[in-house]
Symmetry: C2
Subunit: 408 residues, 2 copies
C-alpha cells in the first residue's frame, strides 16, 4: 500500500469535506482525537460572542434572550442522532464520572433486590471507582469485575446492572454491545454503556442495542473542547421510573417556581443537576455543527478504513519492532489502534517531536485514534512513515523522550 492509494481513498471519502471545518496545523498528524478532539473553526468566535455579548452585555437577561435555559436541550438534540437515540432520551451536563454515578444508581434502583454491579476488569478504572463509590454508600451492593470473555457467564440473577465501556481505552477492542445487552436482559439485569470512545466515531445505536442507560464524553470524538460537558442516555421505557440520586434544580420540572417539593422533569432531563456550565456547553453546541447530516454508519465505515490502512501499513513498514495490541479485524476495533513497545512512553514522545501525536498508556502501549471527521488516509500513511523511521533509527532512545510529564 502506498501514498497514492491513500490519496485515492481520500478522494472517494464521503466525509472529505468535513476536514475544512477544523483547525489543523500544516504538517501535524493528529491521532489523539480519542483523547482530545481538535478545535472546530467556528468555536472561538462563537464562544467570544457568548462571553462578550451574551454574558457581558446581556447579563442575567441572556437566560431568556440568548436561550441559555434551553442550551442543554439543544445540545442533546445534536448528540442524540449520533447514538441512535431520541433527543429527549439524552441529557447534557456534568462529567462522565458524575453521570455514570447517576445512571448506575438509577439502574440499580430499578433492580432493588439485586446486589451486584458487574463489569469487566479492563474497563476504564474510573468507571470501576465510581461503581465502588456507589457500592460503598451501603446497602450490601458489591462490584464484581471479571475478564472480558467471562462476562456472559458471570451474568446471573444476582446481577442488578451490567456496566461496560463499548471500546476499551487501551486495546481499542470493540465489545458486541447488542449481544451483551441481550444477555444482561435475559437474566433480568440492566445494561449501562460507557460510550466515551465510541460516539462520533462508530455506529452507536442505543435503540438497536436495547440499552437501558448510557453515558459518554464530548471532548474526544465530539470535539467539544477540554473537559467539555458529558451526556447521558435514559431509554424511554425508564422515563417515568428512573430516579437520579443527585436531584438538582435543573432536573426539576419547574425549576423557577422554587418549590420546596421535588418534581422531576420529563425524560432524560430529570438527570440534569446544577446550573449548566454555559460557556463549556455553548462551545460544545458549536463544535457539533460539523456532524450535521453525518450518520453513525458513515463514521464507522471511515474509522474502519482508517484503522485498516494503519494496520496494513504498520505491518508492511514496521516489521516486528512493534506488536499490534488491538484486534486485527476492523469490526472488532474502535476508531483506535494500539501498538505495544517496550519503550512506549519514549516512543510516543519521539513521535510527538516529529509532529505525529498519539498518546501513551502504561505500561507499554502507544495509542493512535483516528477521528473520522478530520483524519485522512494520507495522514495515516505519513504517520506510519515517521513511525517506521523513528523505530529504524531508534530516535526514541534519547534522554529528552524519557523525561516524564504529569499527563502522559
Amino acid at each position: 500500500m502506498d501514498r497514492t492509494v491513500c490519496l485515492e481513498l481520500d478522494a472517494s471519502d464521503p466525509l472529505a469535506d468535513r476536514r475544512g471545518a477544523f483547525t489543523l496545523a500544516d504538517g501535524l498528524v493528529y491521532l489523539d482525537g480519542n483523547s482530545l478532539g481538535v478545535l472546530p473553526r467556528t468555536v472561538a468566535a462563537r464562544l467570544d460572542e457568548v462571553v462578550v455579548r451574551e454574558w457581558g452585555e446581556g447579563l442575567i437577561r441572556s437566560w431568556n434572550a440568548a436561550g441559555w435555559v434551553d442550551l442543554p436541550r439543544r445540545v442533546a438534540a445534536r448528540i442524540a442522532p449520533l447514538v441512535g437515540a431520541d433527543a429527549d432520551e439524552v441529557a447534557v451536563g456534568d462529567s462522565t464520572s458524575v453521570n455514570l454515578f447517576k445512571v448506575l444508581a438509577a439502574a440499580r434502583r430499578l433492580r432493588p433486590e439485586r446486589r451486584v454491579l458487574l463489569t469487566d476488569d479492563t474497563n476504564f478504572p474510573t468507571d470501576r471507582y465510581v461503581a465502588e463509590g456507589l457500592a460503598a454508600l451501603g446497602d450490601g451492593l458489591e462490584v464484581r469485575a471479571v475478564a472480558p470473555d467471562a462476562v456472559a457467564a458471570a451474568l446471573d440473577d444476582e446481577v442488578a446492572v451490567l456496566f461496560l465501556t463499548h471500546v476499551d481505552y487501551r486495546s481499542g477492542a470493540r465489545t458486541d454491545a447488542a449481544t451483551l445487552t441481550a444477555a444482561a436482559h435475559r437474566v433480568g439485569a440492566m445494561a449501562v454503556w460507557d460510550l466515551a470512545h465510541s460516539t462520533g466515531a462508530l455506529d452507536v445505536d442505543l435503540h438497536a442495542w436495547d440499552a437501558d442507560f448510557a453515558v459518554g464524553c464530548s471532548y474526544k470524538y465530539l470535539n467539544g473542547g477540554p473537559g467539555a460537558p458529558a451526556y447521558l442516555y435514559v431509554a424511554r421505557r425508564w422515563h417515568t421510573q428512573a430516579d437520579t440520586p443527585v436531584r438538582g434544580w435543573f432536573g426539576h420540572a419547574r425549576p423557577f417556581d422554587f418549590g420546596t417539593t421535588y418534581a422531576p422533569a420529563d425524560g432524560a432531563e430529570r438527570f440534569l443537576a446544577g446550573t449548566p456550565h454555559v460557556l463549556s456547553t455553548a462551545a460544545l453546541e458549536e463544535a457539533l455543527a460539523p456532524f450535521a447530516d453525518v450518520s453513525p454508519a458513515t463514521l464507522d465505515a471511515k474509522a474502519r478504513s482508517l484503522t485498516d490502512t494503519f494496520v496494513t501499513l504498520v505491518t508492511e513498514r514496521c516489521g516486528d519492532e512493534v506488536e499490534l495490541a488491538s484486534p486485527r479485524e476492523a469490526a472488532r476495533r474502535g476508531a483506535q489502534v494500539s501498538l505495544r513497545h517496550p519503550h512506549a512512553y519514549a516512543l510516543t514522545q519521539a513521535l510527538i517531536a516529529r509532529d505525529v501525536i498519539g498518546d501513551h498508556r502504561p505500561p507499554d502501549l502507544v495509542r493512535f485514534g483516528f477521528a473520522p471527521l478530520y483524519v485522512r488516509h494520507v495522514d495515516v500513511h505519513d504517520a506510519v512513515e515517521v513511525l517506521a523511521d523513528v523505530l529504524a533509527t531508534r530516535a526514541w532512545d534519547r534522554p529528552e523522550h524519557h523525561r516524564r510529564n504529569t499527563v502522559t
Copy 2:
C-alpha cells in the same frame, strides 16, 4: 440622604479602584450580581487564548504545557482566602448541587450511626432536593426541615448533619454560622454550609466558624460566568477520613497511572471527580483576578454600606409602596435586599426596562444584590430614584411587564 453623600461614600471606598476591572454598560445599574456576576474585562481575551492557542494549537499537549492539569488547584488557591480556608481545603469543579451531594454523603458517613439530615425550611429548594435524593438511596436516612428559629432546638443526637445556607436567597437574611456550627458540634453533628450567596461579598471565615464542609457557587459574586464551576471545602481535620461518593479519576492520587485500585488524593482534591471543564474553569481563574489582596472583611463592610444606603433611600423615597423583606440591621443581612410588592414580577420587569436590573422571586419579592467589587453608592442612589418613579407612576402596570419569561 442625597446623591452627594453617595458620591462622598464612593470617594472613600477602599474598593473603588476595582470597578474598572469589569465591563459595565453606561447607565446600567446592575443589582443582580447575586444571580450572575458581571464580566471581568480580561476574561474574553484569556478565554480566546485558551481556545485558540492552548486547545487549537497545543491540543493534548496543553494538559502539561499550559498547566490544565493544575487548573482546579490554581483556582482553589484563589478562592481559599475569600472563605477563610487553606488552599488544600478547597476543591474546584462540578456544580454546587453535585458538590453538596458529595459533601453531605461524606459528612453523613462520618456519623454513620445517625439518621437525620437537618436543615431549615427556607433553604434553597435544590439543597433540600439534593439531601432528599441522598436519603432516598436508602439506609433509613431522613431529611428534617424546620423553621429557621427552630434549628437550634431541633439539634439532637439523631442529627448526623446540619446543612444550611449562610444567606437566604429570598430574604437575604444572614445566619450566624459560627453559633449554629458550635450548636451542631455540641450534639455531635457535622455542619455543612452553602456559601452561594456569601463568598465574594461577605466576611466568610470557615476556620473561625469551625465548619466541617462547605459548598459554593462561583457565578454570582465571584463573577466566573454563567454556570461557572463550583467549589467545596473540606476542613483539614477530615482530610484523611472523608470519602467522596463519586470517585472520579481527577480525585485519584495518581490519575495517570490508570490503576485499577482507587486511592484518593490528599486534601479536598479527593472530592474532584471527572475531567475538569477547562474552558469554564480557565474563565473562572481569570475572573478571580480582581479579588487579589481583597479581604472578606473589606467586602463585608462595603456590602453593609451599600445595603444600608439602599434601605435608607427606599425608606425615604418609596413610602409604603414596598415593604422591606430583609432584616433592617445590616449585620443580619447578606449583600442583598429584597422588597415585597404585590406585583413583584411586573415591577422587576419595569425596572429592567429602565436599566435597573434586579430579579424576581415568587411570589412577591424583588431582589437586589450589591456586589461590593463593582457596585457604587451612587448606583444605589440612582436605582432608588428609578424605583421611586416606577412606583409613583405605576409604570409597572403595563401589559409588557406582566408577560412571563422562562427564567424570572
